[in-house]
């Protein structure tokens, strides 16, 4: 089940990359690259920083296949994609929940401090979008608005709090992921953003 959700997250991330790339008038190759870095960029950075190479999408080709199909379908049906905006937002939110917890667990496996694990989880979930925005010559959107990284950080904290309880590891995984998802959904629903500190 986790695996199916992972794929949904990858699809949502890839589609968001395609939409940004289209708006920048990129050619099909550029669109595919942007879709790929959006979907796997965060996890790639995480793997490189902890030294787990070759990075994971090179060893499990399903990500590449899913990104390829998502990109082609999004390009073909781009005028229809607006109808899917709500589903996409949901996939994307589920995706960051899942990516966060996967990143946290990779950090634990590498024997790193909880603070670093939470940073790795947040990085996995958020940096695909950061690299997408840099390649498209924009200041990364998550640095300026939206409760996004904050949701990941709260989910990561939850993971370490809950795992001290005598419960199964899969349950810890689910609870932490749900915290990320819930915080993000509530923040968007009630239009909560972090304040800009510039005056």
């Amino acid at each position: 089940m986790f695996y199916a959700i992972d794929i949904l997250g990858t699809i949502a991330f890839a589609i968001s990359g395609v939409l940004v790339a289209l708006s920048k008038r990129m050619d099909p190759f550029g669109i595919l690259i942007i879709a790929t870095v959006t979907a796997v960029g965060g996890g790639t950075l995480r793997d490189v920083l902890i030294g787990e190479t070759p990075v994971s999408w090179m060893l499990n080709l399903n990500y590449i296949y899913v990104i390829l199909v998502s990109t082609v379908l999004t390009i073909i049906f781009k005028t229809k994609i607006d109808y899917l905006r709500k589903s996409l937002f949901l996939f994307d939110t589920i995706g960051i929940g899942l990516y966060t917890v996967v990143g946290v667990e990779k950090g634990i496996t590498a024997g790193l401090n909880p603070i670093i694990c939470i940073a790795l989880g947040t990085m996995s979930a958020c940096f695909g979008g950061v690299i997408r925005d840099i390649l498209c010559n924009e200041i990364p959107v998550i640095f300026r608005k939206e409760i996004y990284a904050t949701a990941c950080i709260l989910g990561g904290l939850t993971y370490f709090l809950v795992r001290k309880l005598p419960i199964d590891n899969n349950v810890v995984f689910i609870i932490a992921g749900l915290v990320v998802i819930t915080v993000r959904l509530l923040a968007v629903r009630f239009k909560v953003t972090l304040p800009s500190l510039y005056k």
Copy 2:
């Protein structure tokens, strides 16, 4: 012989970096950095992602020497460089042909799937220019026009098709490289580009 071509490719990439950096009014240090990342950036990213570190230009200093000399000469003779535009284009094209096949073979040595090997070859050939454009605050040119990555992908595919034939590995190398070079030369000659999908 391959080695001499490799050096020609490095020279062409370094010069293209110097020309972009000059147009951005960078100082000599900035120009040298841009020349270096253009020439070795793609291979560096490839090495980091597959975990082959220290990256190759740290172990073979010839790249650095060639880049240094190319940068100084290009700065001195920059008003004359226009006369070389055709030779440079040829070097550059030969360079991407060679870099593509070298990247594909590195992937094979690392035991990776052919699709990933082709991605690594394309990355080796194209991402130096991508990093150059990002450092110069431009949307990477290969995402918007020119058959460039497409030529690399076709060359990589050719590599895997041809190597099933009972022929020497060096011949496979040459054929795949020639496909990259031919596709790019023909595309530029007949002004073929990938269509922008934005409407």
Copy 3:
């Protein structure tokens, strides 16, 4: 003592990141990320390129704590920070002196050629600022003005010249660091810059 200076350098780099991020109207999370990459980005790139992973700030949490506190205090006292401009400049200069020599020594430990070691030292000191500027959608400032990288390169050269003398390694370290600091202070004092070669 070196350690205390290292912390001063990290503080100065983090504060410079916060100030740039504030001017770009980023939210608190974005500011923290920019502060972090400015402070640890150069060393992270160095570690990744030579294959020393997990990268150093993941193993020694003091950097993260220092960055966190510096960021919060800078945001709170941002209207007062102008009074500190001179101290900050001094910290920053001491920081690059120290980062340069640390980078050079990491290269030596990895058995790399002196030229590559000097490149690693310069990278450690300068690339945090480069990544900061890219994330903020600016052409990196060190590519356009200021004797900054040049000071690091001269310090690196000094390191290799002086270490041939029969003196203690710590003294070599200090002399090379002082060269970086002195060159930078003199360059800023007398407004020496590298010329732009664009005409």
